[in-house]
Structures are given as C-alpha cells and as structure tokens.
C-alpha cells in the first residue's frame, strides 16, 4: 500500500468514527428513549474503541497475542457494561 492510500484509509476511518459519534449523540436527545438506546450507545462506543485500537494504535498488524488480549478486553467490557445496564438488580 503506498503512503497516500494508507493515509486516505486513516481519514476514512476518522469519518466513520465521527459518523458513529453523531449517531450516538443524536440518540441521546430523547430522554424518554427506549431501553435498548443505552445498549446501542455502549456497543457503538466499544466498536469505536476497537477501531482506535486496531488502526490508530496499529494493533491490526501487531503480534497475535496483543491483538487477542485487546480485542478480548473489548468483548468482556462490552458484555459487562451491557449486562449491568440490562440487569441493574444483579
């Protein structure tokens, strides 16, 4: 991949992250929103986090162990946060 193409890819990713941010932000304006609003917001945030790890931190091309550890963390923290949101009584 030449330089220009890899930089374009980063800019495209940034645009996607901004779009996801706008979407989550828009969903928060209705205070009496449906229950799944929070689930969607948390999952979208962790999708953004995954791409920051893979493409900004460049973990996509790092040794497998590091990638597995970080992607594993994303999955575990997503599940924990969504679980606590849906089942607040434990």
């Amino acid at each position: 991949m030449n330089m220009a193409a890899s930089e374009k890819r980063l800019i495209l990713l940034w645009a996607v992250l901004v779009a996801i941010t706008a979407l989550s932000w828009g969903s928060a304006h209705n205070f009496a929103g449906p229950r799944w609003q929070g689930v969607v917001v948390i999952l979208l945030a962790l999708v953004k986090v995954r791409f920051v790890i893979l493409d900004f931190m460049e973990v996509r091309h790092a040794p497998k162990a590091l990638r597995l550890a970080l992607e594993g963390w994303v999955v575990v923290i997503s599940a924990a946060l969504v679980g606590m949101l849906l089942f607040p009584q434990g």
Binding site: S27, A32, I42, A45, V52, A62, P63, K64, I77
Partner: protein
C-alpha cells in the same frame, strides 16, 4: 508481516490503565443501577454539546497523530505540524472542560452534590490529567520526530508516545458514552 508498534513497556502501561478505567466504568454502572433516578436527573444537567465537541476534538487529534506517525515510518518525513495540530486539539479539550466545569461550579454543582457528580468529577478529572500528560508527550514528539534517529532507533519511542495519545482518545469515548449518552 507482524510487528509490535512501540516499546513493550508502553503496552504494559496501556494494559494497566485499561484495567483501572474498566474498574471506573463498572463502578459507574454499579452506582447507576442503585440510584437510577438521581443519575438520570443529574445526567440531564450535563452539557451534551460540550461532551460532543470534546469527543470530536480527541478523534481529530488522534487522526493527526496517526498520520504523522505513519508518514514518518513509511516515508521518513517528519510532520511536526501534525503533532502541533493535535496539541491544539488537546488545548481545545482542556478549554472546553474548563468552561463546562466552570458552568457547573457556578450553578452550585460540585464534587459533593451527589454520587453521579462525585464519579463524574473524579473520573473525568483523572482523564483530564491524562490529556495534560499526553500533551506533554506530543510536545516531545514534535521535537523527537525531527531528530536524525527518528526513523531508526527513535521510532519506537515516537510510536509509544502516539499510542499513549490514542489511549487518551479511547478512554474518553467510553466516558462520554456512559456519563452523557446512555439513557
């Protein structure tokens, strides 16, 4: 081809910080579950626009840092202005936070108002400390990327600094979602 970006040590620091902040995120959800009404009412007094602006500032700064670091490695050309642009975004973040917190203090809202605001000031405060630290790191990168060894022995150090700045961005993404957006 697999290659570890940055020094090994930076990943130890990242892992430690992720675990500490994971604990913060879970603590927030735990208190929220116990005092849902207080948390939802307090959340309504936060400024969504300030939170959004800060998220966009950090995302954009991350883009500048990622491009500068990649360009240095691929073409050997330093891009100190991109690191400076990222520092400017960081300054914007700090200014935004100062105005936002100032508004809250002015309205009589502080650390001891309730559990929501206690966690809010504690966790976003610790994050703000990371932003300030990160701006110091970025200042170093503007100089380090112009040194003769920047594409050889100096590269991993520059990558490490960039990775730390992306961590600052990453942590804010989750804080913004939990404090401002989850209804």
């Amino acid at each position: 081809m697999k290659r570890l970006p940055g020094e090994e040590g930076i990943w130890v620091l990242i892992a430690g910080d992720l675990l500490v902040f994971s604990l913060f995120f879970l603590t927030f959800m735990y208190y929220r579950a116990g005092e849902m009404a207080v948390f939802l009412a307090s959340q309504r007094t936060l400024s969504l626009g300030f939170g959004l602006a800060n998220t966009l500032l950090l995302l954009t700064s991350s883009l500048f840092v990622a491009i500068a670091t990649q360009r240095l490695r691929v073409t050997g050309k330093p891009a100190p202005k991109l690191y400076m642009a990222a520092i400017a975004c960081g300054l914007g973040f700090v200014g935004d936070k100062a105005v936002e917190w100032g508004d809250k203090f002015h309205a009589g809202i502080g650390f001891t108002t309730n559990d929501f605001y206690m966690l809010y000031f504690a966790f976003t405060g610790i994050h703000l400390f990371h932003v300030l630290l990160g701006m110091g790191v970025l200042s170093f990168l503007t100089i380090a990327c112009q040194r003769p060894n920047a594409t050889t022995r100096g590269l991993v150090l520059i990558e490490s600094g960039a990775i730390f700045w992306h961590l600052v961005d990453l942590l804010w993404i989750v804080l913004f979602a939990l404090f401002y957006l989850v209804r």
